[in-house]
């Protein structure tokens, strides 16, 4: 009876449809897993997922419009588990931040799935691919819409496992299997912080996992800074893993072993941004912990610069984009750290569009010529015009050229660093500015090497444009990459600018025109250098490499991080486990066997007494009796002495 009442109440609640946003893709996943895993029915899989995502998109847009109009978040929440003092909820929180993110995730996911129909055509495991993609989409939406930390953690892990399964989609390739494992283990390493934060929150008197309540208490001064700092830092650990920040960034380049649409959706636009989203979601907690904010900014600044330098020397087209993703995520983190909350979230949004676009164009190229090596490309601009033009738009957006979307969001970040009150904010600004130059350079290096000049391989010479099922999403994403900057002024349907929609309570952020001018100059310089080096051949990269071999080796090996971590994993962790196994076998178990041996030895010694000779037994018997008698006599004697009886 009670159960039925709860269900009825749930259905009558106004916002129960929020559950459908993550629910629809999950439903699609169930159906695909049940009926569409094998040919010939696997061809139906995208036909299930795409309508489900469309439904989610419509619901998300509706929620965004409603939240934007009313200015009040929509919430709905139910007890999932109720044990003693622990009531654990599953719920939805649709505020400006989550609604924007929902729309972004649904849009990119939808376009990527359409693209996948063409890209994955004829692959073994086509149905499995869409099943995993559905679970991913559902989990990602569940993460975004979650109203509490625990639920976020649940979906956080689920997107992680989907990432594992999709990176390892071609599991027979040893490199793919290894990359999948590496991605999961490294991010899981960061996730420890998340779990520890959750249990530490639970150990507090004020414990709650609900975001709104946590924010309310943080604003109300109910959480001490001393408590907030470790919690914020622990949550940031998880964000560092998921968003591939220094020093846990090593998994993302390897994750490119997965199919390219996976890289576009999971490892560029959505899942890797979850770390940034988490920090933004818990921003109230970070805001009262200045130390944590500084760490966020610092890690972001280090990451954005390091990753950009790694991208400069990479020849694999997807890995260049992966390093670029790491670098851009660093920008978002730095923005949040220096206090530019809106800037960080805005860059997350624009980046999702243009980076997904760039990955899909790379996929289009790889689909055509079956290699990732940019030195085997060249001259594809003529043969694949749609891909080339959309990629150029994406590259311009990423480089931050006016008036494309990347310009607006990157500029906000630089302004935030410029006006920040953090100690050393000039350093953050400088790191951001230098990296704008590097970003423009590696991006246009990529574009010139791929699309300009003459073909450098047979395949490149005979490449064809991809089919429209792939080209269509490219065009749509390119359009978004161009115009998304306009969201700054107006988010359609809400009547407000981006800052007002997502930034309730965080204030407007100033814009510096000097920073704007500097960043455009830096970007143009980067593009110019790339043009000079890889198109006009005015300067020779080879000569630079010959002149500074150490720098080249450092960049080529991505600052040797991978080698360092591999050494740690094999020489410390694995070797240590071998040692532990030896210890258990020979020391702990050795003691057990030692006890067994000892009792055996003792019994062997005692056994020698059992000779079987009656004479011997008789002697022992007699000796024992005599000894006993003597003992009694001696005792008697002493007793006599005791009682002082003299004989």
């Amino acid at each position: 009876m009670t159960g039925r009442m709860v269900l009825l109440q749930a259905l009558l609640t106004e916002h129960y449809d929020l559950f459908l946003i993550p629910g629809l893709p999950f439903l699609a996943a169930l159906v695909i897993a049940g009926f569409c895993l094998r040919p010939p029915r696997e061809r139906l899989a995208p036909a299930l997922l795409i309508p489900a995502l469309t439904g989610s998109l419509i619901l998300s847009v509706r929620a965004l419009a409603e939240v934007g109009r009313e200015g009040v978040p929509l919430t709905v929440s139910y007890a999932w588990l109720w044990v003693g003092s622990a009531r654990l909820d599953i719920g939805c929180l649709a505020d400006g931040l989550s609604c924007v993110m929902l729309v972004v995730v649904c849009t990119v996911s939808l376009l990527v799935q359409i693209y996948s129909i063409g890209y994955m055509k004829g692959e073994i495991g086509y149905g499995r691919y869409f099943a995993f993609m559905s679970i991913f989409s559902g989990s990602m939406l569940g993460l975004v819409i979650s109203d509490n930390l625990l639920q976020t953690y649940i979906f956080w892990e689920l997107v992680g496992i989907c990432s594992y399964l999709l990176i390892g989609f071609w599991y027979r390739r040893p490199s793919a299997a290894a990359a999948a494992k590496k991605a999961f283990v490294v991010t899981r390493f960061g996730d420890l912080g998340f779990m520890v934060a959750i249990i530490l929150i639970f150990s507090q008197k004020w414990w709650t996992f609900n975001f709104q309540q946590i924010a309310g208490m943080a604003h109300g001064g109910n959480i001490a800074a001393a408590a907030a700092t470790p919690l914020a830092l622990l949550l940031f650990c998880a964000a560092v893993g998921k968003s591939a920040q220094f020093p846990l960034h090593i998994w993302l380049p390897d994750a490119m072993e997965g199919p390219t649409p996976v890289s576009a959706l999971i490892h560029a636009a959505t899942m890797v941004a979850a770390g940034v989203y988490l920090v933004a979601r818990c921003y109230a907690l970070f805001a009262i912990a200045p130390v944590a904010l500084f760490v966020v900014a610092l890690i972001g600044a280090i990451t954005l610069f390091l990753a950009a330098t790694m991208g400069v020397a990479e020849n694999d087209i997807k890995r260049v984009l992966a390093y670029s993703t790491i670098s851009q995520l660093g920008y978002m983190m730095m923005a949040l750290g220096v206090g530019g909350y809106v800037a960080g979230v805005f860059h997350l949004t624009t980046h999702a569009f243009f980076k997904a676009l760039l990955f899909l164009t790379a996929g289009s190229v790889i689909h055509a010529i079956h290699t990732n090596d940019m030195w085997k490309m060249g001259g594809l601009g003529k043969r694949m015009p749609i891909t080339a033009v959309t990629c150029l738009l994406g590259a311009l957006a990423l480089a931050g050229i006016f008036p494309l979307s990347g310009f607006w969001s990157k500029d906000e970040i630089l302004s935030a660093a410029w006006f920040s009150h953090l100690p050393g904010h000039w350093f953050f600004f400088a790191a951001g500015l230098v990296t704008v130059f590097l970003t423009a350079f590696y991006m246009f290096r990529l574009w010139f090497l791929t699309f300009a000049g003459e073909p450098r391989s047979e395949e490149a010479a005979h490449a064809h444009e991809s089919p429209w099922v792939m080209g269509g999403p490219l065009v749509l994403l390119a359009a978004l990459a161009v115009v998304a900057g306009g969201l700054k002024c107006l988010v359609p349907g809400t009547g407000h600018g981006f800052g007002a929609v997502v930034g309730t309570g965080h204030g407007e952020e100033a814009v510096s025109h000097a920073a704007m001018a500097l960043s455009i100059l830096a970007a143009l310089a980067g593009i110019g250098l790339a043009w000079a080096a890889y198109r006009a051949r005015l300067v020779s990269p080879a000569a630079f490499n010959a002149r500074f071999p150490a720098v080249h080796a450092l960049l080529k090996n991505a600052w040797y991080f991978d080698q360092g971590w591999r050494w740690f994993a094999t020489r410390v962790v694995l070797a240590g486990s071998g040692l532990a196994a030896w210890f258990d076998r020979h020391v702990v178990n050795g003691m057990v066997d030692g006890v067994a041996w000892l009792s055996g030895w003792a019994s062997r010694q005692l056994r020698t007494a059992q000779t079987g000779q009656v004479q011997f037994y008789a002697i022992v018997l007699t000796a024992a009796v005599v000894a006993g008698l003597l003992a009694v006599l001696a005792r008697e004697a002493s007793l006599l002495q005791l009682f002082q009886v003299r004989p």
């Binding site: 109720w82 594992y164 040893p174 249990i199 639970f202």
Partner: protein
């Protein structure tokens, strides 16, 4: 009859089946197997039914009571009753034996004797979980332990005699400690607090009785060591990897899946139930050892190259989670501990079934010699992956719920007497150790199922067949189902916690 005395039926059905199997002709393999499957099926259905009835009627405390006076000397009675925790564990046992019977379908050597012993063992396990009389509790406990010697020694692989002997000796030493503790409880109970002022073995009466605190402290330690041996506490765990590795598939399933839980259940039911103050004096030690179990077991598991040893050491690690939850000694922690008993039982049952299948097909347990099996055995690979995910507590699997509750309970543990927040440190250490589990599980998956496939060597291997699917589907589905909707189990466990939280 069966429905009027459901617990007696559950306990005695396997025994009856064992007797019946003894009477069957040696050649009638199918009849033997079907008889065993029927008995296990009856138990499974009945235990599920009891859980449902219990939840449906919002019951609390002990129910489905069967009590027959057995001996006036010492006031012993055949007293069976079940509360929520008992029911969860009975359900677990029903599931594992049901799947174990199917996993043993291919045993052809002395099939009759194998099934007889297996069913006898299960009788003991069911008995322990529902016995409310210390005498029968101990009797069932020994019935559950002893057939193991023959099952491993006769049907095992590798150094089976060594493993069987080590396991039996270890458990008997544990029993000795336990027996002293149990007799202590019998004699130390304050007669004025017992019904009728008479000494009794009745566990319900003994739980309500009073004991001197100094006695409690000593007796609880004896019980902890005695039961702890079977729960695989460090450093008394070394019987378990050898035992599990040598045992035949179904026996490993039952042993790691259910038998190790007897130890933890004993600590909870007798230790916490009768000696709460004694328990509180030792929780710091229990918690510390449990954390060592978790971290050490996982780290040693990572260093193994024999598939069965990996799983066996993972059990040592996972039983640490159970013991940590118990040591937290609060509602959340103990709920998590029992949840982990259930979850680990299902998970490790699934694992050992899978290991058996892989070994049967590939004829090796050396993980470095395998690779790319997913292509040929997608079903097994999927089930193994699900088990692996549950093993490192991925949300959406039962392992997550259990571990989460244990960790949450642990940070809330009342460690007020200590200046340092000992249990917070324990919880953090345990969380850190879980990442090791993820590492070795994924390594295992990669080595066995991913990568290139050696066509020349493993050309003839294939996926699971007919009866083998029963085990895989039932257990893997349960791991996910409980992970998504754990409320029925946690509610069931919650009803029983009142008298057991010290």
């Amino acid at each position: 009859m069966a429905l009027a005395h459901p617990l007696t039926t559950i306990v005695l059905a396997p025994l009856m089946a064992a007797v019946l199997i003894m009477l069957l002709p040696r050649r009638a393999l199918l009849a033997v197997r079907v008889t065993a499957a029927l008995a296990a099926g009856v138990d499974l259905v009945l235990s599920a039914l009891l859980c449902w009835v219990y939840l449906r009627h919002d019951l609390r405390g002990l129910h489905f009571e069967d009590k027959f006076a057995w001996s006036p000397v010492g006031n012993i009675s055949f007293h069976l009753a079940a509360d929520g925790i008992s029911l969860v564990l009975v359900l677990l046992t029903g599931l594992v034996i049901f799947c174990g019977v199917f996993a043993s379908w291919t045993v052809t050597y002395r099939t009759k004797e194998f099934y007889c012993l297996l069913l006898l063992l299960v009788t003991g396990v069911f008995g322990v979980f529902v016995a409310q009389d210390l005498f029968f509790f101990f009797l069932f406990y020994e019935i559950a332990v002893l057939p193991m010697y023959l099952l491993i020694g006769i049907w095992g692989t590798g150094p089976k005699e060594y493993s069987a002997m080590k396991l039996t000796l270890f458990l008997l030493v544990g029993s000795a400690f336990m027996l002293v503790g149990l007799l202590g409880i019998y004699f130390a109970a304050d007669p004025s607090t017992l019904p009728g002022g008479q000494r009794t073995f009745d566990l319900v009466a003994l739980s309500a009785a009073g004991y001197p605190v100094r006695f409690q402290v000593i007796a609880f330690f004896l019980l902890y060591v005695g039961f702890g041996v079977l729960a695989g506490i460090w450093p008394l765990h070394t019987w378990s990897p050898d035992g599990h590795a040598s045992a035949p598939t179904a026996v490993s399933m039952l042993h790691a899946g259910v038998l190790m839980k007897l130890g933890a259940y004993g600590v909870l039911r007798v230790g916490f139930g009768c000696l709460p103050e004694g328990a509180m004096a030792w929780v710091w030690l229990m918690g510390g050892i449990a954390v060592i179990n978790i971290a050490y077991g996982a780290y040693v598991a990572m260093g193994q190259t024999d598939l069965k040893y990996v799983i066996a050491y993972s059990s040592v690690s996972h039983m640490g989670v159970v013991m940590l939850g118990l040591a937290a000694a609060n509602e959340v922690g103990i709920n998590g501990a029992v949840m982990q008993m259930f979850s680990h039982g299902i998970m490790t049952g699934l694992f050992f079934a899978l290991v058996g299948l892989v070994y049967e097909k590939a004829h090796t347990r050396e993980i470095n010699a395998m690779g790319g099996f997913a292509r040929r055995m997608p079903g097994i690979a999927l089930a193994f992956t699900i088990g692996g995910l549950a093993s490192f507590g991925l949300p959406g699997t039962s392992g997550f719920v259990a571990e989460l509750l244990v960790f949450l309970g642990t940070v809330k543990a009342h460690a007020g007497v200590y200046a340092i927040p000992l249990f917070v440190i324990y919880a953090i250490a345990a969380v850190l150790a879980i990442v090791i589990t993820a590492t070795y599980v994924l390594r295992l998956l990669q080595k066995i199922f991913h990568g290139p496939f050696d066509e020349a060597r493993y050309g003839d291997i294939g996926d699971a067949r007919t009866t083998e699917w029963v085990t895989l589907v039932v257990l893997a589905t349960l791991l996910l189902a409980v992970g998504f909707y754990p409320a029925p189990l946690t509610d069931l466990i919650g009803t029983a916690l009142g008298p057991l939280v010290p």
